[in-house]
């Protein structure tokens, strides 16, 4: 994605002339550089903007906009956008704009929580595996292989059908199956970090394994983790959209975007576009924003690593 991101567009550092004639730039920490690179990336800033918009739309929007999404209103079903209904109504007479906000809450909450769960499990698992090495590492990584071979959507569907879907259960479920990639990434980082001098120094100073992981290894593997979080969020949002679309999503009165879409599809031939395309656009925009941020974060992380 580097071309889309427009790599190498760092603004010049504050350069001052040194008395000897050479140029002296301020020494910046890797993280500062990474943030600079990220902020100078137009697409990344667009992604952050879209995400902030949807956060405000979903969580602050309902404070100002009180649409009806709780009581059926049979005299106002399938209304086209107009006075009183900025985005029309559905077959129950629910207000589409209010439903979009409600669905946005669910998507963002599940996306965020499941990503946090996945990252926490994955980072610890990967760090332990990488640090332990040897037979423990081999066994732990085979377990990851086993989990990676499980058709995850099938399991999520089966569990969701049996126990019903809620924001909490979906987050736990998606999180419980998406820690595998972060685990591999963190393990890879730890394998390169653990032979470095600062880890040896910490060992000599008597640091315990737990301290090594929490104070030395994980903070240094943090970059990889933070990049992965954004992709996890995007994936989770796609998953619950798929679940909702197949009819196994959140239970009323909670709403998710996939559910709205599958409801609207019934009326595709009637031309009730407002029940389909706005919610479709919401899903695509949020997922795209997460991907843009992730790609840019990875590129800027490369800048940070380059300084090592």
């Amino acid at each position: 994605m580097s071309s889309l991101i427009g790599a190498g567009s760092l603004p010049p550092l504050d350069v001052t002339r040194a008395p000897e004639g050479g140029e002296v730039g301020p020494v910046q920490s890797g993280w500062k550089l990474a943030v600079r690179e990220f902020a100078s990336n137009k697409l990344a800033v667009t992604g952050v903007g879209i995400l902030i918009f949807f956060l405000l739309f979903s969580f602050v929007g309902p404070v100002f906009y009180h649409g009806n999404y709780l009581t059926s209103n049979l005299v106002a079903t399938n209304q086209a956008p107009g006075a009183g209904y900025p985005l029309g109504t559905n077959n129950q007479g629910y207000d589409e704009l209010a439903l979009l906000m409600k669905g946005g809450q669910a998507a963002l909450e599940v996306g965020f929580f499941s990503a946090v769960i996945a990252i926490v499990i994955g980072a610890l698992y990967g760090a332990i595996s990488g640090l332990a090495g040897g037979i423990v590492d081999a066994v732990l990584m085979r377990v990851v292989d086993v989990f990676l071979s499980i058709p995850f959507l099938f399991i999520v569907l089966i569990v969701a059908v049996r126990f019903g879907a809620s924001v909490l259960s979906l987050s736990l479920l998606i999180g419980a199956f998406s820690w595998l990639v972060p685990a591999r990434l963190v393990r890879g980082e730890v394998l390169t970090l653990r032979v470095r001098d600062f880890v040896a120094a910490a060992r000599v100073a008597g640091a315990s394994q737990a301290r090594l992981i929490s104070r030395h290894l994980l903070p240094n593997a943090f970059g990889v983790v933070i990049v992965n979080v954004t992709f996890q969020v995007a994936d989770a949002i796609l998953y619950i959209a798929a679940l909702g679309f197949l009819g196994f999503g959140l239970q009323w009165p909670n709403q998710d975007w996939g559910d709205l879409l599958s409801n609207g599809v019934t009326y595709l031939q009637d031309g009730y576009w407002w029940q389909i395309w706005p919610v479709g656009a919401c899903i695509v925009l949020v997922v795209m924003a997460c991907n843009l941020i992730g790609d840019a974060a990875r590129d800027s992380l490369d800048v940070r690593l380059r300084r090592r």
């Binding site: 071309s3 086993v146 058709p151 995850f152 099938f154 089966i158 595709l268 031939q269 479709g280 695509v284």
Partner: protein, 315 residues
Amino acid sequence: MIGYIVRRIGTSIVVLFGVSIFIFALLHAIYPSPAIDVLGSRANGVLIAAWNKDNGFDDPWIVQYLHYIGNLFQGNLGYSYKLNQSVGSLISEVWARSAWLSGASLVLSVLIAMPLGIYQAIRRNTIGDYAATTVAFSLYAMPVFLLGLILIEIFALDLHIFSFEGSQATSLPAIIVDVRSMTLPIVTLTLLSVASYSRYMRSSAMDVLAQDYIKVSRAKGLPERLVLTRHLVRNASLPMVTLIGLSIPFLLSGNLITETLFNYKGLGLLFYTALQNVDYNVLLAYTLIGALLTIIGNLVADIALTVADPRIRLA
């Protein structure tokens, strides 16, 4: 190399057993017994206990697992109490339909994505590259069903070129010639795969273009056409082998959603119906088949890569 392949097959078998134990235990925990579905919701506890005893559902799960695996080796996938048919016959009725849908879209997407990615790498940062990247990036963020809906709206409902439903024909040859019905499902899956494959192909080709042997062949005056066909394409395609092997789970879930959306009676729709009916044995069998395909996909990709890339053989 033989040693590597044998070892690789060995790990796959171990992983396969691990996966099957996990899936069996999980599904068993979720649906301990189909008794209530078979006997009806008014069955009393005594009846259920008797039925469980007769059908072995009161054994410890590990015993049931061994029993199930034993049956598997005899080609018995269990019985669908909902459809009154063996799972094996249900699957054998429809698997070819799914194979056609997934196979056709997989082949098409590779045929499109590889030249596209190479074109983008050679002409990088031109209008064509930006356009392709933008399209790929939008498709990448799009759920399968939304893309399918957009295609249905445009090509089936507005233009009336294609059908909004997958082929309902019963024989595979009839489905293959039913282009009007099969175009949209196949294109839906193809476009999504192209979006991700072309991104990988582009970055892989860009990595290869930066290699010294490309500079050397250009410097020695090799025509650009030969540089591209002999050196670039072959080397840049190697990561694609792994990528395709790893993409089986995505193909399976794409299949599930596409078949449901287009009402195309393949394995995906069978699974979807089983979800609605809580048809335990079908769910278990197809989840296991999915895991098996995933493992085979990884295995074949790894072996194919060793065959294709001599550098790995030496290592």
